[in-house]
């Protein structure tokens, strides 16, 4: 290439900009995007050789305690206003659709038990889940389809989305409130009802699929 050295002789065109400059770039992109941006996406935009992850980290520190914050949402980053200033923003408040109790509970069950089948949701709530409830959560993009469960019937599973994490200010589904305690109390286990071992004692992995019939048992 003909244009390798700059006039000061210190660098080439292809050297990554200094970290402070990278931080500015990350700042600009995160400010501009309403949706969270992944590190990979940042690096595509930034000059070759940039370390977006490091720049984001510096930026996040810079905004600590300010009116807006740099937050992690799943695998991506976003700038959001500080929650204590929400009262200033009535004008911006979007009326969210009122979720039914069934929808809220279903959402919580998916979040805490994910990946979670419809049968499991019904087992936990003790009633069948109406099609509309799942549809509503899917439409809001708070849940999505996960992998099929490798059990008879290969049922679909549901998991929560990055949008869900973003909405509730969660970095990660592992940060759900009380998750550890619930797990420690054994309340996130799929405990098969006694006597409901139709296939064999060995098939522990698949036992969770056979829980639905509690009330028909006998």
């Amino acid at each position: 290439m003909t244009d390798a050295p700059k006039e000061d002789g210190t660098g080439t065109l292809f050297e990554a900009p200094p970290l402070a400059e990278q931080e500015r770039m990350v700042e600009a992109v995160l400010f501009a995007s309403a949706e969270p941006v992944t590190i990979a996406d940042l690096e595509v935009r930034m000059p070759h050789g940039s370390d977006a992850a490091q720049a984001v980290e510096v930026l996040q520190k810079r905004y600590e305690g300010r009116g807006v914050r740099v937050v992690k949402v799943g695998e991506a980053w976003a700038i959001r206003t500080a929650p204590d200033l929400g009262f200033l923003m009535q004008k911006e408040t979007v009326e969210t659709r009122k979720l039914s109790r069934a929808a809220i509970e279903t959402l919580a069950i998916v979040a805490y038990h994910q990946p979670c089948t419809r049968a499991e949701i019904e087992e936990i709530r003790g009633v069948s889940v109406s099609r509309g409830t799942i549809d509503q959560l899917l439409e809001m993009e708070w849940i999505r389809l996960g992998r099929r469960r490798m059990t008879p019937g290969r049922p679909v599973t549901f998991v929560v989305t990055p949008q869900f994490l973003d909405h509730f200010g969660l970095e990660n589904a592992r940060d759900l409130p009380g998750l550890k305690e619930l797990r420690a109390a054994g309340l996130l286990e799929n405990r098969p009802p006694p006597g409901a071992m139709p296939i064999g004692e060995g098939s522990d992995d698949e036992a969770d699929e056979d829980q639905t019939e509690l009330f028909e048992e006998e």
Binding site: A108, F168, P194
Partner: protein, 262 residues
């Protein structure tokens, strides 16, 4: 729950009252498990130490009362009632050593687990909804700037591609005994060539179809091509002043003849 095992005390007054209160808004419940969870609260104990026997009695009283009041209960309420009656008998009777099924205690423990888990999920849901929420407590950028995505598609081809492409076409004939590709195409040039000498003899109106080349009217594809080419050639000949054409009405045969006055 062992304490309750032999307290054969039928449904207490308090239970009856509770059941009656429940009846008022049976529609407000989300199924039997929800009713059981509500009933269990009257025991005011940790769900893990709940008396399932008492709970079963309360539930049966609830169903009984509903029936007495001729309130229609969904089938699953009755299924639950039957199951709880079974559970109750298991809890009250001494275990039968020949019975293979799960013990009353195991069944009761599982019901308690279900209730505790449902309650835990409800608490979790409440905590979740109490969190700061996007668009309510914290906000995204109000004026998202356009982060545009420009997609440009460039096509690549090298000189080599070009030359190989050309060579491929031009040398095809050398390698093949026949050229089949244009089998079904009759060009306007061909039609003109064919018609020029023929038109001199067309003193009277003649259907254009008679000018189609021999052997081209059997296959519809070939016939269509020949017809189109002949028609185009005819137009050209009319334009040049050698010929006249007419059509009596739509879709009628097109007729041609030599232009008489010169």
């Amino acid at each position: 729950m062992n304490d309750n095992l032999f307290s054969e005390d039928p449904v207490s007054v308090a239970d009856r009252l509770a059941a009656e209160a429940l009846i008022v808004d049976v529609d407000g419940f989300e199924g039997p498990l929800d009713v059981l969870l509500t009933l269990s609260r009257t025991q005011k104990v940790d769900l893990r130490k709940i008396s399932v026997l008492a709970l079963a009695q309360q539930y049966l009283a609830f169903v009984e009362k509903a029936r007495a009041l001729r309130i229609e209960l969904a089938a699953d309420y009755l299924v639950m009632a039957a199951w709880l009656a079974f559970l109750k008998s298991r809890l009250l009777l001494p275990p039968d050593p020949d019975d293979e099924g799960p013990s009353g205690e195991e069944l009761a423990a599982h019901l308690a687990f279900q209730l505790e888990r449902l309650q835990a999920m409800r608490d979790a849901a409440a905590r979740l909804m109490a969190r700061d929420q996007l668009g309510r407590d914290f906000f995204r950028r109000g004026q998202g700037e356009d982060v545009t995505r420009i997609r440009t598609v460039t096509y690549s081809a090298t000189l080599l591609d070009l030359m190989q492409g050309y060579a491929r076409i031009r040398t095809r004939d050398e390698f093949r005994p026949f050229v089949m590709d244009r089998d079904a195409v009759f060009t306007m040039e061909q039609a003109l060539e064919r018609m020029r000498p023929l038109i001199g003899f067309a003193g009277t109106w003649t259907d254009m179809e008679t000018y189609l080349p021999e052997g081209w009217d059997a296959d519809p594809v070939r016939k269509r091509s020949a017809t189109a080419a002949t028609f185009a050639a005819s137009l050209e000949l009319v334009k040049e002043g050698h010929m006249e054409m007419k059509q009596s009405e739509s879709f009628a045969p097109i007729q041609l003849r030599k232009r008489t006055e010169t």
